[in-house]
Each structure stands twice: as C-alpha cells, then as structure tokens.
Amino acid sequence: MNKVYSAAMIAVIAAVTMLLRFLPFAVFSKKRKVPAYILYLGDVLPYAIMGMLIVYCLRNVQITVAGDWIPTLVCVAAVAALQIWKRSTLLSILCGTGLYMFLVQVVFV
C-alpha cells in the first residue's frame, strides 16, 4: 500500500464529489435557469450508470472458469429475485453476499 497515492486518490474523489455537490449552487439560481439538456441528463444518466457499474463489478469474471462465473451468475440472479420479491435492499445485499461467500469458499473450492 502506497500511502501518498492512497491519500491522493481519496482527496481527488472527495474533491470531485464536493465539486459536483457545490456546482449547481454556484452556477444556477432562481433567476438563472438550468439548461433543459442538463435536466434531461440528470433524469436518464443515473439509470445508465447503474448498468455500467454492474458491468464494472463483473469485468474480471472469467467465462472459462466454472468456479468463477457460476457463483457470480447464481448470486446476481438471487439478489435480483430477492429484490423484486421483498424490495429490501439490505436483505438482498446480505443474503446475496452470504450466498456468494459460501459458494466460493465451500462449494467451488
């Protein structure tokens, strides 16, 4: 672990997050209206980005290794099914992660 690099990474992420949160208050006001295109992006981007983040999480799954893709596929399906059924984010995450840890530690060793 490189401490300087890690601190810089956290500082960059914190700074960009703060910038995003403060920018609207600095740029727009009751009088200066927000451009329609920006409002539109705000509506649609969150949906697209969540799809991107799922692919990002799964980017290193190897399709040729059964012990890798089977637990992943089973658990993603389980999390999605549980979420549709119970609509409880915490329950879905805890059960999904528990199942995944069990599969990779005990079943597909």
Binding site: M1, Y5, S6, A8, M9, I10, A11, V12, I13, A14, V16, T17, M18, L20, R21, F22, P24, F28, K30, Y37, I38, L39, Y40, L41, G42, D43, V44, L45, Y47, A48, I49, M50, G51, M52, I54, V55, Y56, C57, R59, N60, T72, C75, V76, V79, A80, Q83, I84, R87, T89, L90, S92, I93, L94, G96, T97, Y100, M101, L103, V104, Q105
Partner: protein
C-alpha cells in the same frame, strides 16, 4: 418550536436511514480492512467523501492502483446525480446561512430523499428550517461514519475468511438497478448503460473499457433528446 423539539423531529425523521447507513457503512469498513487499509483510512473516506456507491468503487480503485484521472472521471459519472439533487434544492437552501456549506456537502441520496419533503419544516421560520436540515444531515453522516468505524474495527480485530466479500458491491448495484427498473417506465437508459458497457468491455478489455463506456453512454442517451429537440424546432408550441 424549541431547538430541542427540532432535534427530536430531525432524529425521528432520520431513523429509517440509520439501519441502511450503519449496515452499508460496515460493509465499506470491512472491505477497506480486507484490502489492507486500517480504520482511520476508512473513517477518513466516510468523513470527507460521504457518498456511498462511490466509496465502494473507491475500494476497488485503490486495490487496482487506478490512475487518478480515471478515478476523477469515475467520480463524475457515479456522482453526476448529485448535480441534480443540488439543482432541485437551490430554492430550499436559498435562505440558509451558516450551515449552508455543510448542507450542500452532505446532500447524499438518502439525505436528499428526507429533505426534499418540504412539509416537515416551517418555511416561515428560516432559522428553524435550517437547524432541522442541519440535524438531519448530521445524523445521517454520523450513522455512516459509525457504521464504517464498526466495520473497519471488526475487520481489523477478527480474522475471518473474507473471500467473496467483494460481492457486496455487486449486490448493492444490482439492487439499485432492479429498484430503478421497477419504479421507472422508461428502460432504454438502463439498457443503454448495460449494453454500451458490455460492448466496450469486449472491445477494449477490462482495464480500459470504462472511459469509452462513459462516453458511449452519454452519446447514446443524448440521441433521443437531440431527436426530440430537432422535431420540436418546427413546433410553435415549444
């Protein structure tokens, strides 16, 4: 309303967020310790970044020693939605004074969802309203930091086989994706996000697909907008 009553109201309002933030914060703390980062690192993230999904991504970026530019771009994409929380709160936070910078700093998804509900605080008394918003924001961050500390300390004290615990991040994003899918009528942006990312993953490989994917997603979701805007040009009603 006395300041004490405001404190109580804010606390009761924030209770539903407590469970979520403590548990998700713990998950973050455990992941950080799993990657070799002690409790102070994890707590610093939760104090200074204070953005749930992005902190989970941060663990991953640290673990693979991602370039800082890529981290900055990733933050823009993951946290772009905060721009829009800000835009919708401009009116409400207009008269706020000493706590305003902290209110803006702490405007997470959950804080926003609690505070966009205006009927809870008296707009006739701007100082009381400001205090109420401040307490809600502060309580939420306290839950998040406490959860992080508990997770980070547990992870540092108990050694357990943590193999597979990274899946909590995938699970978090899958639940949000499903929840968005259920509550939205329009599924094209979600499909564009999945499709564009998979295409770029295949074309550019796992270490370089992210930035092309972000660009392609922005282009794809802008197409219907440009199309509508062009059609709207000839329409005198627009």
């Amino acid at each position: 309303m006395s300041n004490r009553t405001i404190l109580q109201k804010a606390f009761i309002k924030s209770l539903p967020v407590m469970a979520a933030y403590v548990v998700l914060g713990m998950g973050f703390g455990i992941l950080m310790s799993d990657k070799g980062y002690g409790p102070l690192w994890a707590i610093a993230c939760s104090i200074f970044i204070f953005a749930g999904s992005m902190q989970y991504v941060t663990v991953d970026l640290l673990a693979v020693s991602a370039p800082l530019v890529q981290a900055a771009m990733m933050t823009v994409m993951v946290n772009a939605r905060h721009l829009f929380y800000g835009i919708s709160m401009i009116g409400k936070y207009r008269n706020m004074k000493k706590f305003k910078p902290y209110l803006i700093f702490g405007l997470t998804d959950e804080t926003y969802s609690l505070l966009c509900d205006e009927k809870d605080y008296p707009s006739s008394e701007p100082e009381k309203a400001e205090l109420y918003c401040f307490f809600v924001t502060l309580f939420n961050q306290c839950y998040w930091v406490c959860g992080t500390a508990i997770g980070a300390i547990l992870g540092a004290v108990f050694s357990f086989n943590s193999k597979g615990i990274d899946f909590s991040m995938t699970a978090l994003f899958v639940t949000i994706f499903v929840e968005q899918w259920i509550t939205s009528q329009e599924h094209r942006p979600a499909l564009a996000g999945l499709g564009a990312s998979m295409l770029c993953l295949i074309v550019f490989g796992s270490s370089a697909f992210l930035i092309p994917a972000m660009l392609l997603i922005t282009v794809l979701v802008s197409v219907p907008y440009a199309y509508k805007a062009r059609r709207g040009e000839g329409d005198p009603e627009k």
